[in-house]
Symmetry: C2
Subunit: 467 residues, 2 copies
């Protein structure tokens, strides 16, 4: 099974190309089917398309050399990290080369006094945080999966901490990028801010490998808060949960994390993670700050929660309890998919102005309740961003069409509320029409930029828009 992204013509691999590639990278060129399959599929519902070859890159200079070979031979090149993207972002739909960057996993520098670090693209976020812990620092962007920093930059990832710490857009100070003409550029210096020319850093963040291959990232870091406190609270109504968050933000509580899970998602979480939370709309909170500030935040939120029909706060103040709570949240995707044994997941996300969030989730829940298959809602309520996770029977192809229709209605609903078709998953293969519905002529500007920087359309072709 797999979603019906229209098949693209496969690129021709010219004679001698693989030999030249092998000469360059030795046995880090891999042609076996198992490895090609691993780089041709995704965790989501998209049909796999195998690359002709996989190269495991070791350095920026090597990536530049590989790019020059590919461009000369007109072979498509698609960067690959942890493979955890949701919209088929790394599937090589025209074949060609999958460039695996996970071997570039060096933490190049940590500048503790400047609260920044520079890492190679293949570094995983958990690896980075482990490295930083003893310095009292952390990197806050947390999309759930243990993604690579390069992949997170390429897809403009965000996640549970974005309400307080921003997304990859705010987290990246500078990138090293290999451009389609095979040059190595650094998009910015290490200064906190700059007004020096076009913001190439932000242009590359979220460009999904279509404009350049990110090989190094300089990241803003944060001090580990003196105190971290987490709590879970159930609500008798969805509106009460959303209003609690809106009102807390309005009076200035600097929530570090606030996640909403609907009743069906809570059932899935309880089953998957062996927990016993009430199976109602639930908020997961995390508070960061000095002990005095956390105490103040908690008092305020508890009071607001009580006024909005919230129940008891269940606390997790010890690190191991907190880890258990957030592990359950991070596994919510697998929990939801496994509401049906043997099912396949389809995750989608939208983001709306927070004033419309309760309405958008309520209407979406009503739409999902009419579906023939299970679907859960969970999201980063402080940003107005939420996900729907469908659990699809792989042997019932008609379910794919049903989910497509539900997803189309979800996107249309979000756009009608001046929201976006994706808060954090990206466009990839799945939301190309949604992007046009959302931004119209602005997509033509994107095409002009793509054609200018990658005139042969070799960098992750077929993604974001049809050229």
């Amino acid at each position: 099974m797999g979603a019906h992204h229209p098949p693209q013509p496969r690129a021709t691999i010219p004679d001698g190309f693989l030999d030249r590639l092998g000469h360059l990278v030795g046995d880090r060129l891999q042609l076996g089917e198992a490895i090609r399959r691993q780089h041709g599929q995704s965790e989501a519902h998209f049909e796999a398309v195998l690359p002709d070859a996989v190269v495991f890159a070791r350095s920026t200079e090597e990536v530049a050399a590989v790019v020059r070979l590919c461009v000369a031979a007109e072979v498509p090149i698609v960067p690959f990290g942890a493979g955890t993207s949701i919209e088929g972002n790394a599937i090589p739909v025209r074949g060609g080369l999958s460039l695996d960057l996970t071997g570039m996993d060096a933490i190049v520098a940590v500048n503790a006094e400047d609260f920044d670090c520079t890492v190679e693209a293949g570094v995983r976020r958990e690896q980075l945080n482990e490295h930083l812990r003893d310095m009292g620092l952390f990197f806050p962007i947390d999309p759930g999966a243990n993604a690579t920093i390069g992949g997170m930059a390429a897809t403009r990832a965000s996640g549970t901490n974005a309400v307080r710490y921003g997304t990859m857009r705010e987290a990246a100070l500078s990138l090293t990028v290999v451009t389609p003409d095979g040059r190595i550029v650094r998009t910015a210096r290490r200064a906190r801010k700059s007004a020096a020319g076009y913001d190439l850093t932000r242009l590359m963040i979220g460009s999904e490998g279509t404009l350049g291959i990110i090989t190094e990232v300089t990241l803003r870091l944060h001090g580990i808060p003196e105190m971290i406190s987490a709590a879970v609270c159930s609500f008798s109504s969805l509106k009460g949960a959303v209003d609690t968050v809106v009102q807390s933000i309005q009076i200035g509580v600097p929530l570090a994390r606030v996640e909403i899970l609907d009743a069906m998602q809570m059932r899935a979480v309880n089953r998957w993670s062996k927990l016993d939370y009430p199976e109602e709309t639930t908020l997961f909170f995390e508070f960061h700050g000095s002990p005095r500030s956390v105490e103040e935040q908690v008092e305020l939120v508890r009071e607001i929660s009580g006024l909005n029909g919230g129940g008891e706060f269940r606390w997790s103040n010890r690190p191991e309890e907190r880890s258990r709570l957030w592990k359950a949240r991070h596994e919510a995707y697998y929990a939801a998919v496994n509401l049906r044994p043997g099912a396949v997941g389809w995750a989608t996300d939208v983001c709306v102005p927070i004033s419309r969030l309760a309405e958008c989730i309520t209407e979406t829940r009503a739409d999902l309740d009419g579906a023939s298959l299970p679907a859960t809602i969970l999201g980063h309520v402080g940003d107005g961003n939420f996900h729907v996770i469908f659990s699809i029977d792989p042997d019932a192809p008609e379910e794919m069409a049903e989910v497509e229709a539900l997803n189309d209605r979800l996107v249309a609903r979000a756009l009608a509320m001046d929201g976006t078709c994706t808060g954090e998953h990206g466009i990839g293969l799945g939301k190309k029409q949604a992007l046009i519905d959302e931004l119209g002529d602005a997509v033509d500007m994107m095409r002009l930029i793509k054609r200018a920087l990658d005139p042969k359309d070799l960098f992750n072709p077929g993604k974001i828009f049809a050229l």
Copy 2:
């Protein structure tokens, strides 16, 4: 007098163009020399170049119509706001049309629950904050001058609040832009975050009118803090002042503003604003939060300050005292220029990683102390960003060459520390070589984007880079 930016060939205005323009906009087409002069000069040291005509625009649709006329006639078009930019950013070096957007000053919508608003490009930041005050909201970006929001977006402005609230890069959610092909595009929806395609919002922010004309801006807003407290503190050494800031940030104090002024700048401020602060290196602080949080912040910073040779904290907790303090800070430019009667100002800025800031300022001060003319240092120390303001005798042209050399050394010093040639003023006319020194081949990527979006080079030509 005026800096030696190489003269550019003036564009030819075809017969009938001005008639067609007049037909479109009526008496909002202005050809008189006084108005053209006002739109051809800047507050800074650059030589004036007069536009052939000035149009006072009224709507986005009208801007699009004017752009289509200009492009068909190959007449350059340069957007103009408050005229407070520092690097000659709005000087029409090839002549053509100066498009004045100050008449587009409508506050289109305030969405209080979403903490955002949409304004036309000509709205001034003080006007906006006056409008927002009764709703308990404020727009934090404060470059000092009462600039237009459109101009602030076009130059990626920041200023005194950036350490806590970010710059225009973070403040803008979406833009309405008229492109060089005369289309009106909206770069994003009103959602807090999005992963939908290339980040055109951030590409336009800081593009200085070279890629499109920003006509509307949707901005993030913030709640007015429950408590605001401001203080001034002198230090026996520059390093002690900088270390106070670095250490405060390191332990997590969310400073809202922290400005450094050197001894000569304090002398200028005392004279200009009739104050009596000690004429030593000084920090201006502002703390935002709940009363409890502000109290906690202040205790911590006062303690750190004492350990670093800081003197007494002079408090300004009442709004009128605070206004007086920040008015003195905002007038620092005029205060510095007027250290010599009849002088002309040249302001420059760089931004370095904060670990290098004390060293960068100290070396710069030593270099300035050898100069034949007065120059002060002040800056946004929390970001690593500082300014030098030269006070130049307009009848002594040799001083211009001296300042150019001092400025070149300042930029080279910042770049050697992995900093940027401008933290917030932009490139404009003054820092085109510095941009190349800073980013090398990345400037070629900028040129490719410029040529793709504005193939005839009519949108603010001659700025940021030579095409």
